[in-house]
Each structure stands twice: as C-alpha cells, then as structure tokens.
Amino acid sequence: MRTSSRKSLWGYLFIAPHLSLFLVFLFLPVLLAFLLAFREVSVIRFEGSADFFRFLVSDYIGWRNFSDAFAEPVFYSALRNTLLYTLVMVPLSVGLSLLLALLIIPLNERLQGLFRGAYYLPSMFSGVILALLWRWIYEPKNGILNLALDALGVQGPNWLGDPKIALASILVSAAVYAPGLGVIIYSAAISRIPDELLEAAHMDGASTLQKWRSVVIPLLKPTTLFLVVINTIWSFQVFTSIYIMTRGGPGDSTTTLVYFIYDLAFKQVGRKGEAAAVSFILFAMVAIVAFIQFRMLRSEAEY
C-alpha cells in the first residue's frame, strides 16, 4: 500500500512541471474558449476575479451560437470542402509514402538515406513559406507553372482564381510535401520486419509484387493506421495554405472549417461566440474520428 502511494507521488511529481504549464497555458484557454461558445460575445474583461465570475454567470445564451453556426450556409460549404480535402489527401499522402518507401527498399543504404532525406527535408519548411512559394508558382501570368505550360503551347488555367480547381490546386501543393514524414516512418517500420517472414515468402518463389501484397503491406497495418490518423487530424485542420493562397475564395470554394472559424472570429462582426462553437464542433468531429481509428489500431496491433 505504501509503495503504491509512494509510486503515485512520483508519478505526479514527474508530470507536474509539464502539467502545470499545460494547465495554465493550454487547458485554461481551451476551457475559456469552451465557455465562450455558450456565451454572447463580449469583451473578456479580466481586471479582477469579479470580472471572471460575471463572465461565467452572465451573457449565457445556451446553444444559440451552435444553432446559428448550423444555420449558416457557409458552414456546410466549409464542411464539404474539409471532408473533400481530407478524403483525397489522406489516401494520397499515405499511399504515396507507402509506395515511395517500398520503392526505396532495394537501394543501398546511402541512396536510401538520400531519397528519404530528399522527401522529408521540404516538409520541414514552414507551412507559411511553402504556401507563399506555391502562390507565386500558381500566378496566372508570371507564375512558373503557367509560363512552363505556355512554352509547351498550353494555356494554363487560373489555378487559384477558378472556383472549380482552386481547392484541387491547394491540395496538390500540399500533397507534394505530405508524404515526407510517412516515407521515413514506413521505412523504419519496414526495417523492423523480421527476416524470417521475408525469407519464407522468397522461398515460396513469390514475385516482388506478391511479396509486397501478401507479406509487407499487411505487416505495416499499424503504421498505416497511425499515419492515417495523423493525416486525418492534420487535414481536418488545414488553414495556413488557404489563408496564404486564396483566403477562402473565390466565393467559398476553398473555405475549410478552420478558415471558417478564423473568418467568424476575425473578419465578421460579433460572431466570436459562433467561432468558438464551430471550433468545438470541429474538435468533436476530429476526436470521434481519431478515437475510432485508435480503436482499430489497437486491435490490429497483434501480429
């Protein structure tokens, strides 16, 4: 008994430094934001504890921010765009990283490292910089993409200004860098596949493709699921590229949920409560999806 409570004490001590910072600088703001979602937006005055209690008690409007958000047509465009983006990006990113990781296998150690590094390095650049770069590349007149197409005699479209292709353009610019992390994780996972299994497959005379399909890919399921979860969470929260490249436009063809939240909070008047509400709707969606995927991951872990 004594040892277990002593152990508990140590447990708390070890998490204390990080947890105390977390509580003050992350948990508390999230809590305040959550409270905001149920209140009429007003200035958060905090010159004393009286202000805080007033904030808690007054201005309460129940679920109205949520119902307002659901009544807003742009919300559904944002939802649609975000889901579309996620449904394309996740398989693309994970699939590409798997393909590249598999293709790297037969190369020697140095080349492997070189390619892995080459794919990973650009994704380490900040999202802002990559978005600025691609916005410049997509320029309809001076951008290198349309200039190259022009040299081939093809009229390049207005990549970011045409509502039909704007979202796809942004997706492509992100998809170029998304596989980077996946390649490294997959490579590492592949390297942990026990020799015996591969030997066995080889003995049976399996061709490369068969080997991949029946042995390697199933063994990578946990990794795959992990990458799917991470990419899903990231895709749901795509913002920076939209902000830099199209500002949600033209119209709302590239408005995603987080951009919608930003718009409500900073561009619209008096709708910060709605922004907080949508944030929590988004949070709930992502949490549910991640939870489902985690459960699947847990059950797949035994092999």
Binding site: L13, A16, V43, F46, F266, K267, V269, G270
Partner: protein, 457 residues
C-alpha cells in the same frame, strides 16, 4: 541523489513562484512609475510617413512632460487580427490608426468625437470624410486622409491609335464609349483584339470599377443602414453599361468581371494591351517610378532585350469616370484614413490622447500625405498636388469622392454584391436577376444583424 530529488520537488514550486513574482513585479513597477503611457498603434504608412510619425511622437513626448508614447507598427495583412485579439481580451491600445470597426463601437469601446471637435474644426473637414467616420449619427474617429480611384490612360496607345484623350479629363458615357471603340483594335481580324479599350474588375475589397455605378446614381444602403437599396433602375443601367462594354461592344477585356485588380494593372502597365484602366491614385506614382526605373536602366546601357522585356516608358494621364449627361463626375473611394481613440478611464490621459490625435491629423500631417500619394481630409490643407502636372485638377473630386457605407456587415455585403456583379459580368446570370439576388441577400444580412442586435440589448 537526494539533492536532485529535492530539487525536483522544488522546481515546479519555483516556477510558479517566479511567475507570480514576475506578475507582481510588473504590477508594482506600474504603480510606482509616474508618466502617462499612451499606446499608439498604426499601420505601415510608407517610409516617409513612418519616419514623420516617429518624429512627431518624439516631439510630443518632449513638449509634454510626463508622457510616454509607445508606438506599435501593424502590418496590413495581419494587423487587424492583432488588434482584434488585443481589443477583445480587454487590452486595446489608446490611439489607433485606421482601426474603426463597428464591432468596437457597438461594444462601447471607442470615444466619440462629436464633443471633442470645435465647430470650426468640424467645418474644416470635407463632409464625405466625416461621413465615413460616422455611425448612427455620431462621429467615432477623426479623419486623416482620403484616397480615390481614377482612370489611368495610356497616352502612347491613344496617340498610336489616333484617338484624342478626353478634354479636360472629363467625358460623358457616350464619348467614353466612342473612344473605347476606337481604341479597340483587331489588327489581324481574327476576332480577338490585340488592344482593348479597358479592363474591368469586381472582387471583394476591390472597388476600382464601382465609380461606374456611382455615376449612374447607384446607392447601396439607405442612410440609416437598415435597408439595401441596391436594386434600382440606376444600378441596372450601370451594370448593363459595363456588361455591354464587354459583350456587346467588346471594348473591354474578355474575362473582365472575373479579373482581379492586380491583373488589370499588370495588363495595363506591363502588357500594354488596354488603353485605360481604373486604379487607385497610387498607380500614378507607381507608373512614374516604373518610368524612372526604365529610364535609368536605359541610361546604364542595359540595352539588349530593352524595348521588349524591360517595358516601355509610358506617357500617361488620368481622367475622371464618365459622367451621365451633364452631371458632375463622381469618384469612388475605398475609405478614409482616420485615428480612433479607445475609451479612456483617466480624463487626463484622454485629453492627451485627443491632443495627440488632433496633432497627427492636422497641419503638417496633411502636407506629409503628399509623400504617400494620399489626399487630405481637411479643407485647410488646400491642394497638395496643385503643381503636379497630372493631378492638379483632381483634389476637389477626391474631396467629394463617394466612400462605401460604414457598416458592421460591410465585409459580407461586399462579398455578396461583388459575387453577383461578377456573375452578371461573366454572363452567367441575367443582370436584373443578379442585382435582385444581391439586394435580397444583403437585406437578409442586414435583417439578421439588426435582429441579433435587438436581442442582445
């Protein structure tokens, strides 16, 4: 080992202690210090004006004992968000430039100016400037400068095509159309003109082409801001005129309506494919700079590729928008530069803020506007450009330039109307329907806004 264990326990306590001490220290320092600190936030205003501001701040601190002004520069892209976060977390600055936001007014965060200006002062401002800072009958900011959109003409192209620029910078719609037709040249007769008269753009936050509508008599909102009056015969006529330019007479760039401001500017200044364009007055100075740069490059002997790639020096002029009949032509303005004072608790500090704001927007400051191709908001500043060969006639028109309505829902109104206008211009929707839809949607926006405001109060 034991020491390490002890320090592990002590560490978080020390952290919190340091935080608390830091907090207390700041507080106590604040109480002991005497000077009144004014937080002044302003956007980037260009090198010369920035420097002038800093000089004025220094002067103000010297001439007023016990006053310190902390200046923060805002970037145009991210500044509004930074300001918003500060305001809504209860930490607004004291004086801020171009910061008027009805959201702040509605929250009671801004000092009204009605009682702070003497009648002579009020009379010194151009009425349009005051209107642009007025909401529901009260003045919420002190005007500083005005800008406007104008028509830029490529005189070289006019000359080459043998067309006379408008006399006295003015033309009626018929004269304008006639010249546009002459300026549209299809050299090889393939149906695609190499040279067009003009390019039109409609996009949220881009108001270059709105003056065409204003000159026909378009109004967007009723004076009390509650009704959308965009759907009117005047608007219909205005949009039809523009539509005809593109589709009937084909004197405007195809794709006009879906273009952006920077595209029409690029086609005008780099490609020389249009003879006229609607741009802000800044374009006059930009073109002058371009001309100078090309000239210097030529002087330095950078000759190969010169004529084709480096651009041509453009002989240009400006013109007013075409007026309907004998009416005075109207210019459009994107807004009025101004200074806002956030609500002050200390009357002493408020007086200083007011004095500072007044100083920054009168007298010399008005003269400094010329360095930024801006126009004064005060009559007493006179004509800053009277010796400018191109702009000497423009001042009175800029003074009367029509500013878009100041309204909390303006961002959405702009988006809605711009979108409908684009659809109409591209021919994807009948014009009357687009205008009607736009007006209906805007009215719905307005209704919802006032409904929620009523509920909140």
């Amino acid at each position: 080992m034991e020491r390490i264990k002890r320090s592990l326990i002590v560490l978080p306590i020390v952290c919190l202690g340091v935080l608390g001490a830091a907090g207390c220290a700041r507080q106590s320092v604040g109480e002991q210090a005497k000077p009144i600190v004014i937080q002044f936030w302003d956007y980037q205003r260009g090198t010369d004006l920035n420097r002038w501001e800093e000089e004025q701040i220094a002067w103000f601190e010297q001439t007023h004992s016990n006053v310190k002004i902390e200046a923060t520069r805002l970037a145009w892209q991210s500044g509004p968000e930074k300001l918003d976060v500060a305001v809504f977390s209860g930490n607004p600055p004291d004086v801020a430039g171009s910061a008027l936001n009805i959201a702040y007014v509605e929250q009671g965060l801004i000092e009204p100016w009605d009682d702070l200006l003497s009648p002579e002062d009020m009379a010194d401002f151009y009425p349009t400037a005051l209107n642009a800072c007025t909401w529901e009958g009260r003045l919420w900011a002190i005007p500083w400068y005005k800008t406007a959109y104008i028509m830029m003409l490529n005189l070289d192209l006019f000359r080459e095509t043998g067309v006379e620029p408008p006399k006295g910078h003015r033309w009626t719609w018929e004269e304008f159309l006639e010249k546009m037709k002459q300026l549209t040249v299809d050299k090889d007769g393939d149906g695609m003109s190499e040279q067009y008269g003009i390019g039109i753009n409609f996009y949220p936050e881009e108001f270059e082409s709105w003056a065409f509508l204003y000159n026909e008599g378009t109004e967007i909102l009723s004076p009390d801001g509650r009704r959308c009056v965009f759907d009117s015969p005047e608007t219909l006529r205005g949009v039809e005129n523009l539509y005809d330019l593109v589709h009937k007479y084909k004197v405007a760039l195809s794709g006009s309506g879906a273009m952006r401001q920077y595209e029409t500017w690029d086609v005008f200044t780099n490609e020389w494919r249009i003879a006229a364009t609607c741009q802000g007055l800044w374009s006059v100075f930009a073109q002058r700079r371009t001309n100078r740069r090309i000239e210097q490059a030529a002087q330095r002997g950078e000759s190969d590729d010169a004529g084709v790639l480096r651009g041509r020096i453009m002989d240009f002029d400006v013109a007013l928008f075409p007026s309907s009949g004998t009416a005075e032509p109207i210019l459009a303005s994107a807004g009025v530069g101004h200074l806002v004072i956030f609500k002050q608790k200390d009357p002493e500090k408020k007086k200083l803020c007011v004095e500072f704001a007044k100083h920054m927007t009168s007298g010399d400051s008005q003269k400094m506007l010329a360095t930024q191709s801006l126009f004064p908001a005060r009559r007493s500043a006179g004509d800053l450009y009277e010796h400018d060969p191109i702009l000497s006639f423009v001042q009175p028109y800029v003074a009367k330039a029509k500013v878009h309505p100041l309204h909390p829902e303006w961002v959405n109104i702009d988006r809605t109307l711009s979108k409908q206008l684009q659809l109409a211009m591209l021919g994807e929707k009948p014009i009357a329907e687009a205008i009607r839809d736009g007006a209906t949607q805007v009215q719905a926006l307005l209704d919802r806004y006032y409904e929620r405001r009523r509920e909140r109060r």
